[in-house]
């Protein structure tokens, strides 16, 4: 994919020309100046959406200088060396009273009119539109807004890159590798690299490090997003789209708060997301809220008990843009953050010993949410151009790969640790790259959570499984085995040649040898063991954590099958809701269809349990499939329960299919309704049409069956009937 560092200058020059040419096409596409259909007519793009192999355009065309594909030029490092900068901890978003919000949040979307900026597409001078981009009316009103009124508010903007003058790592400098949080943080991947421009990097609040939300069960949150991206769609640095929809991955909230791909909002608007932070099954299980295991941390160290099934407790989420057909570009540009949920069981306060708290590594100073020894890691591969500005390429529809490893948007940093146990919440925040993580000395790591869910029992591993895009792996590393002054590294063992899937998984020795042609293989995070802890390590890793909900008494109402493959057909032609790409999903034996968020592919009945089988149709691809809203239990892989590995015996929300593989899961559909999604979280695949809509629409008013599709415009959201309803949907 990328040229070796010792490639000839002529080869690099040729590849750089090809990259610039592709960037021009990507820019024209993102501006709407040309369509994919135009490019096909011009002979630049295939019907499958891929770039034709043209010299001067494609990194895979035969080179003028050699008979092998040229590859793409490496991202220049401007002399920067690995492990020369501290890893910044996430930037904790302030929790404020709801009264801090102006205007006050409302159950239905706030349709107060405002003048629109004529630079917005389709806007004429004098036009007005609603201040909130949420679809109006009762169907998109916050469900259970009265029952779960927001107790706190959190605000974030979507903005171009700027200096961070309000960094809050949530810990003292000693727990942040010496970083002075009071000093301005430049928007760069390393102090020795150029700052990212305001059009190249788009993040929450426009700053780095990435943002962290800390929430707790029993404390509903109103998360207000203000879109402050450029009004002019062309002001995007060549890629990315200024309309956005924020998905809380994998929140158990109403669909109006899920970040539906077609419920996007425009610059100048806000969107209120209401997160009740409730346990699954709250309507029917432990509805009197008497079980102390079902709860959230109280300020006094006790438990605020809540209704629901304590076995549905979740911990490590994240949030990111989900703009239809632009998710990969916008997330790559920086619109991704993490979301820690604290509970009676997972308090984030390791010394509280009440028989409920699992006392996982975290800290002791606060009654919940201590971060000293509870560390969020967001892994992502990036690439930049000759000027050091983020570069993206949409033309490889197998998946875009970067050639530079970042952790928390920092290039190969170091992190100082004490001689004790730490919890790491590891998010694969890449576009198409899988990671496979080990420590350089192969020391054991204790795997405690998969996606948002603590395991029934911890699993000791020396090499983690391949981690697909959007998967979260929580692990505990005990650094007490190391002496002060020593170092150990996190190592990536998964080598890619392209975005299809890892080309091979290396041994630790192979990965450390430096011989892999993939620049993202090998060491990417250095741990420096710097001191003994001031207090004894009070944390534990219990042998039993959170068992799976017992579903044996819940009948299976339906079995559905979804086949994820290429060669998708598109049967509808709404220019807003449809997209044509090589990827698609076949439902219940039907043809593989490209994405249309106006098409209903499945509609489980409210309050039921179903079994879904997700099938990879083969072809040397892997697909990490994400199902919104509901957590699933894996019943079988390739039809066999014995092929479910130990680390997948808990609940999950992303399911790697593996090449030619299948996964059978079971889920319950409860508590809230609306339209949700299922898609590949290789976001290149997702954006190239491997996405479908499913909905829960029979839970009573205000829902209609089927639900109308929202069509956002700056002047307001309109609704249209579904473009299509698959015969087996209902």
């Amino acid at each position: 994919m990328y040229l070796p560092r010792n490639a000839s200058k002529a080869r690099v020059r040729e590849a750089e020309n090809a990259r610039r040419n592709r960037a021009e096409i990507v820019k024209a596409l993102s501006h709407g100046q040309v369509s994919r259909r135009d490019l096909i007519r011009m002979g630049l793009m295939s019907a499958a959406g891929t770039l034709v192999l043209t010299n001067g355009l494609s990194p895979f065309a035969k080179s003028a200088y050699a008979s092998i594909p040229t590859g793409a030029p490496r991202s220049p490092l401007f002399g920067v060396q690995a492990f020369t900068q501290p890893m910044p901890r996430f930037d904790v978003l302030p929790r404020k009273p709801v009264s801090a919000l102006s205007p006050a949040p409302t159950a239905q979307a706030n349709t107060t009119q405002q003048p629109l900026n004529p630079a917005l597409e389709g806007v004429r001078p004098g036009d007005t539109g609603p201040i909130e981009g949420r679809p109006p009316g009762p169907i998109w009103a916050h469900q259970e807004f009265t029952r779960f009124p927001p107790a706190i508010s959190i605000e974030a903007t979507q903005e171009g890159a700027k200096v961070n003058t309000a960094y809050n790592p949530g810990v003292a400098s000693a727990f942040n590798s010496g970083i002075n949080a009071a000093a301005p943080i430049r928007p760069t991947f390393h102090p020795g690299l150029p700052d990212q421009g305001a059009l190249a990097l788009w993040t929450f609040n426009g700053t780095v490090p990435p943002k962290l939300m800390q929430v707790r069960y029993g404390e509903p949150v109103l998360f207000r997003h203000r879109n402050m991206l450029p009004f002019d769609v062309r002001q995007n640095g060549g890629f990315g789209r200024h309309t956005i929809s924020i998905h809380e991955h994998n929140g158990h909230h109403g669909a109006e708060n899920d970040g539906f791909t077609g419920a996007f909002f425009f610059p100048g608007q806000f969107y209120d997301y209401h997160y009740p932070i409730v346990l699954g099954g709250w309507r029917t299980i432990n509805s009197a809220a008497t079980d102390p295991r079902a709860g959230g941390p109280a300020d006094n160290g006790g438990i605020n008990k809540v209704a629901g099934d304590w076995r549905e407790t979740m911990s490590s989420h994240w949030f990111h843009d989900h703009m239809f057909s632009f998710t990969s570009q916008n997330v790559y540009k920086g619109m991704a953050g993490m979301f820690n949920i604290y509970s009676a069981l997972d308090r984030g306060s390791e010394a509280l010993n009440d028989g409920v708290n699992l006392r996982l590594p975290s800290g002791t100073a606060k009654t919940f949410g201590n971060l000293e020894y509870d560390v969020n890691l967001m892994l992502a591969d990036k690439a930049w151009d000759a000027n050091g500005q983020l570069f993206f390429d949409i033309f490889n529809t197998d998946g875009f790969l970067g050639d530079v490893m970042t952790v928390n948007l920092a290039y190969k940093p170091f992190f100082e640790v004490e001689r004790r146990k730490y919890r790491f919440r590891i998010l694969n925040g890449a576009v198409a790259r899988f990671f496979k993580i080990a420590l350089s000395d192969a020391s054991p790591m204790i795997f405690i959570a998969n996606d948002g869910n603590l395991m029934p029992s911890p699993v000791v591993l020396t090499e983690l499984d391949e981690q697909g895009i959007a998967e979260r792996y929580d692990i505990v590393i005990d650094f007490s085995r190391y002496s002060i002054g020593s170092k150990v590294w996190m190592v990536n063992l998964a080598e890619h040649e392209d975005g299809t899937m890892p080309s091979r998984d290396l041994s630790i020795t192979e990965a450390l040898s430096g011989t892999s042609p993939d620049p993202c293989v090998g060491k990417f995070l250095e741990f420096r063991i710097v001191r003994n802890p001031a207090q004894a390590d009070a944390s534990q890793v219990p042998a039993t954590m959170i068992p799976n909900p017992d579903l044996s008494a819940v009948p299976v109402a339906r079995n559905r099958t979804f086949v994820f493959g290429d060669g998708a057909n598109q049967t509808t032609n709404n220019p807003v809701t449809t997209f044509r790409g090589p990827w698609g999903i076949g439902t219940n034996g039907g043809e593989v269809l490209a994405a249309d968020f106006g098409r209903i592919s499945a509609a489980p009945r409210f309050g039921t349990r179903e079994t879904w089988t997700l099938v990879n149709d083969g072809g040397a691809w892997d697909h990490p499939i994400h199902i919104h809203f509901e957590e699933g239990q894996i019943l079988a892989r390739n039809g066999s329960v014995s092929q479910v590995p130990a680390w997948e015996k808990g609940r999950k929300d992303v399911y790697r299919l593996r090449p030619d593989g299948s996964v059978t899961i079971t889920m319950q559909f409860r508590d809230f309704g609306g339209m949700f999604m299922e898609h590949c979280h290789n976001t290149t695949h997702e954006d190239n049409a491997m996405l479908l809509r499913w909905e829960i629409d029979d839970g009573g008013a205000p829902f209609l069956r089927p639900l109308p599709t929202p069509i956002p415009t700056p002047q307001g959201v309109t609704f249209i009937p579904p473009d299509d309803i698959l015969p087996s949907a209902f």
Binding site: L44, G56, S443, P444, I446, E497, R504, V541, A620, D660
Partner: protein, 160 residues
Amino acid sequence: MKAHRRSSTPVVLSILAGILAGVPSTGIAGTPTTLVIPVAGTVDDVPESISLSGVARITSTPVVQRIPGRPRVVLSIDLRDVSGQGLSTGTTYVSTGEAYLTRLLVLSDLVEVTFALVPSGPDGILSARTALASLRLSFDLTSGGLTAASGTLSAFRPPG
């Protein structure tokens, strides 16, 4: 649209035709093959050496490729039937070794995979040790099948 092209002619190569036609390039079916082999060895390391023995269950599944590319297999390596005993304390160790690896399909592949050994006892997971399985695997390049395997167990020594 500004272009920076060298003199060139658009050429759609056979790779694209392969994608559109869905033609397998390797002809390898995705049929798994499994071998169960005895493995043994000693983790010669501090705080005590551990004598290990048991079996490794290795399943190889060729990846069906519809586009040109180097043939690959997905290996399932199950070492959970390996156990050991500490040579100083007599402590029993059980393996949690379970790995899924993507590898290139070659005639002979040396696969090195580390795995954890958990001592018996209530806090065993906090005292886990590391072992290395070195597996020599032979494949039929035509079918992608696993034809032979042998392996040893030892301590992992970081390079350098």
